[in-house]
Subunit: 301 residues, 2 copies
């Protein structure tokens, strides 16, 4: 999995502080998560073959998370796109995109498929053989979802003592890892559970932005690998965080700790802070394995 | 008058090829003309105190001319703006802006005043003591206006022989330049026309983008100082220009020549051309005084 941070700041975009957008390369998919103004320029800057994006996830309808969407759709049109584009976002997103297309008398040659979200509980919004994506309802000033990306392929660990005992051919090991039982030439069945240990937890990534401190999400993101959690403010501005329904870095750390994730990425910083190291220090009061999102940075997990 | 080119390319924005937007500093006003995606970032880059902008003119509702407007309004809100913002643009612009504000539950502390345009003949849309702004109906795929900015203050030239003859006090010269008649202490009137020569032509600037070759505009922009005219294509792509209702550089030159303007600025270039000098050469077949719009360039007239 590769995660590319296109922008990780809140509110107004500036040249070096783009607003929320990230690209997740996962199991041969390019998933775009949020799409602040200028995202299409950031995609070009990072030399991403962005016409391959087929799924765009919009957390909520605040400008710093979706004002770049209409421009990206327009550019797809200009580039002659023909493949479907799937857009997942809060109810209303379809209307706001279509009205702009109608006013400019522009029609796409590709299908623009909207999945409008309004549920207040987790909902599987995408699934194929390898990946499952579920909403994470968050708590913000407007209806907002985070997104949980999960690798469905649970790889099992071979029990070498038993595969030797039952004389399982090594060519069947990959099948065993995927959970298949073994049948020999005489039709005798050996249950997979006899030949493997428990599954290794598959890879998982949760994007949680924007949200106030909201422990209700903990169960859903328990033991995941990577959590991107918003930390718009530092604790000294906790009143502002409460008022605007955002989180502080320490609160993000607390969620990571409660959920026992492997790593926390902090993002969605207010531009009021010139210096970001305090975000890490503050989050580390609650949870050790913390890194800062950085515009243009690529994380390989 | 100072004109700052924030972006002068067509279609999709790229880092160094921003889409249409320009700032006109004129008689203590900051007029923003068109507002492609990322315009607010360009305003910051050019270090323009953009909160002083009170009037925004949108030529038409194609994305490369207005997708940056909602983000700019949002940023004005975040910056605590309280003064009115006047937006002039095609009918529909109010709906598309308000629907986005409604969905994000955001309300401005300032008045957002829309002047929706739908007339097909020139219309004065702004006027104060010093400046008059008139629409220039253009011919494009959707309803489009250019804008004519005129300095209203016609300064007259003093006729020194006659002011001496009539013994006009020099303290009254400024009044004479503004067109006032002179009345002496005994109530005798001397007509202004006896004391001055004809007006010096006031300054004028016309923004004409996007449009196909459209000679109907010539009368309205006759003898103006500066004409910004779109030249999306070169003549070798004239079929494409016709099809998409854009102009070639030579056609822009032809309009400048027919209108006998002082200077032509070419802009709204397609990114298909790596090299821009052909635009000048082509326009100069029709009209000599041609310059290219350049992103970030400031023109003082």
């Amino acid at each position: 999995m590769e995660l590319i941070i296109l922008g990780c700041h809140s509110a107004s975009p500036r040249q070096n502080f783009h607003t929320s957008s990230q690209l997740l390369k996962f199991k041969n998919h390019l998933f775009l998560i949020d799409c602040g103004e200028g995202t299409q320029m950031r995609l070009r800057e990072e030399k991403i073959s962005f016409t391959r994006i087929k799924h765009i996830f919009i957390s909520h309808l605040h400008g710093d998370h979706f004002y770049g969407l209409i421009g990206l759709i327009n550019t797809f049109k200009l580039l002659g796109r023909e493949i479907d584009l799937n857009i997942y976002g809060p109810k209303g997103i379809k209307e706001v995109i279509l009205i702009q297309m109608k006013l400019s008398k522009s029609f796409t040659n590709f299908n623009l498929i909207f999945f409008e979200l309004e549920k207040k509980y987790p909902e599987v919004i995408f699934e194929d053989d390898l990946v499952k994506i579920t909403t994470i309802p968050l708590k913000h000033r407007v209806y907002t979802n985070g997104f949980l990306f999960e690798d469905k392929l649970k790889t099992k660990k071979i029990n070498y003592d038993n595969v030797n005992l039952y004389k399982i051919p090594s060519t069947f090991y990959e099948k065993l890892k995927e959970g298949f039982d073994y049948k020999d030439g005489k039709g005798n069945l050996v249950k997979n559970s006899m030949l493997t240990f428990n599954s290794i937890s598959p890879f998982s990534y949760a994007y949680c932005s924007d949200t106030s401190f909201f422990t209700k999400i903990v169960d859903q993101i328990k033991n995941i690998d990577i959590l991107y959690h918003e930390s718009t403010f530092l604790n000294r501005d906790i009143d502002l965080a409460k008022k605007t329904k955002h989180s502080t870095a320490q609160q993000a750390g607390k969620i990571a700790s409660l959920a026992n994730v492997n790593q926390l990425i902090l993002g969605h910083f207010s531009t009021r802070y010139n210096e970001k190291s305090s975000f890490v220090l503050e989050a580390q009061k609650e949870f050790k394995n913390v890194i800062l999102a950085e515009q243009g940075k690529k994380y390989n997990f």
